[in-house]
Amino acid sequence: MLRLILPLAGLAAALLLWAAGAAWLTQRMPVAADFAPLPSADALWQLVGGGDLWPHVWLSLKRVLVGLALAIAIGVPLGVLTGLSKRFAQGTTPLFQFLRMVSPLSWMPLAVMVLGVGDAPVYFLLAFAAVWPILLNTASGVAQLDPNWLLLARSLSATRRETVFRVVLPGITEHILTGVRLAIGIIWIVLVPAEMLGVSAGLGYFILDTRDRLAYSELMAAILLVGALGYALDYLARTAHARWLHR
């Protein structure tokens, strides 16, 4: 019972703080009344019921999927290589750690210059941000493979293909899924600012657009929606992880 009540109590407390903050701000500048929970909820209701918002949501989700797919396609093979080859790991670790610590948004101007305006630089930024947790988790998964699984495969005279597809890949899937979950979190965070530059649709664009239209309650609604969608994506990733392990 407590497991249900405590999270709700936390959300309720945040709601109260939000209402109090908005009320305080409204005393100083009346326009801030739009930031309060009730107008925001009303705006969210209108937006979800209407047709203007959904194209932005679908576009953002599509970008998340493409960015994630690119990150997996690049991160898993590189991670396997890093986990298998000590030399490759030694040669690439400082470089990867360096690149990882550069905020992906720093690449934005360069990405737009090279890839042009549109979806391509956004895909690049998302993939670039998401590739590291996938790569690093895959590598640690390979390093943590139970050596007895490989012995078992050898005792069955497994071919190389059987060893890779029946033991190694399923054996590191847990770690890949952990990496994917972290990657989804990062992608979702990078997505909104990435969509504020050089594109004309998506949730990030929509937030800037509400600001320009002075539609502040819609801005708050968009923020709520971004949080809810992010929560849902993380929930999906967590569920996939738990299902794989049958816990």
Binding site: L151, L156, T173
Partner: protein, 281 residues
């Protein structure tokens, strides 16, 4: 094909490998690349349906010997015959059990037991034959009702039963077990030791059990081989003809236990002397 064997300094060495046995090895030696020998000049015969315990302290090379005998590693010298044929790769009818159950967590119990039966180098089985083998093996270890549980949902003893069933599903002529019960609590271990003896007898397989537990060796084995020295060799052998259940034969069990302890003591004294003389030169 026979490698030249070193002279018969120790038990069994120098004679040709015996063809009628489940496994027969002569003149075996193994060393990691660029390191001293782990064991040398080892000869072993395992008869059909016989339980042999390989007893020794940690680091004596007994696990390495098991891996070489199962042909998971190539010996640096010597020859292994399995069912009369010279062994150059792991044999489909030799199965392994490890100290950890090492089940694949993404497969349920039945999936783990059947794992690998469909591999290219395994004897071809139809889907129904595979399912029958899996079901048979699972019920042999008392887990018939748990086929669809996953490793994360099994206790340590149950997981090790599944590992045993995985070995049985290959219908082995020889079961290689490397300290299979040493990670279990004492009560579960005693259960599993009884189960192993029962299964070996009912499934007409032989077993080579590596252990550092003297009591386990006495309770389970038909024959005990003591391994020691550096490089490791087989230094003593006991045929255990104590009637089962051996828990009911305290006098004979105690006598054998003392004999083994004395042999271990002599082995220590010998290696101590050896170190002393080495130190002087």
């Amino acid at each position: 094909m026979n490698a030249p064997l070193e002279g018969g300094r120790l038990y069994g060495a120098g004679q040709p490998a015996v063809e009628g046995h489940a496994l027969s090895a002569r003149g075996l030696a193994y060393a990691y690349a660029g390191a001293a020998s782990v064991f040398a000049d080892v000869a072993i015969d395992i008869r059909h349906r016989e339980i042999v315990c390989l007893l020794g302290g940690s680091g004596c090379g007994k696990s390495s010997l098991l891996r070489v005998l199962a042909r998971l590693e190539a010996p640096t010298a010597g020859e292994i015959r399995f069912l009369g044929e010279v062994l150059t790769a792991p044999h489909p009818r030799a199965a392994l059990v490890f100290q950890q159950a090492s089940l694949l967590p993404w497969l349920d119990a039945a999936g783990n037991v059947g794992f690998g039966l469909d591999f290219d180098h395994q004897p071809a089985l139809s889907r129904s034959e595979r399912a029958e083998r899996v079901g048979h093996a699972l019920s042999a270890v008392g887990l018939a009702g748990h086929a669809h549980r996953y490793p994360a949902q099994l206790s340590g003893g149950m997981a090790q039963r599944v590992a045993l069933a995985r070995a049985l599903a290959r219908q082995p002529q020889l079961l290689f077990a490397d300290e299979p019960f040493s990670a279990l609590d004492a009560i579960t271990r005693a259960e599993m030791q009884d189960l192993l003896v029962e299964l070996v007898h009912r499934w007409h397989t032989a077993a080579l059990l590596v252990t550092h537990d003297i009591d386990e060796a006495i309770l389970v084995a038909d024959r005990i081989l003591l391994m020691g020295g550096a490089p490791g060799r087989i230094v003593r052998e006991w045929a255990v003809d104590i009637e089962r259940p051996r828990e009911a034969q305290p006098v004979a069990v105690t006598a054998l236990r003392l004999d083994i302890l004395n042999a271990l003591h002599a082995l220590r004294a010998h290696s101590y002397e050896h170190h002393q003389t080495e130190g002087k030169t």
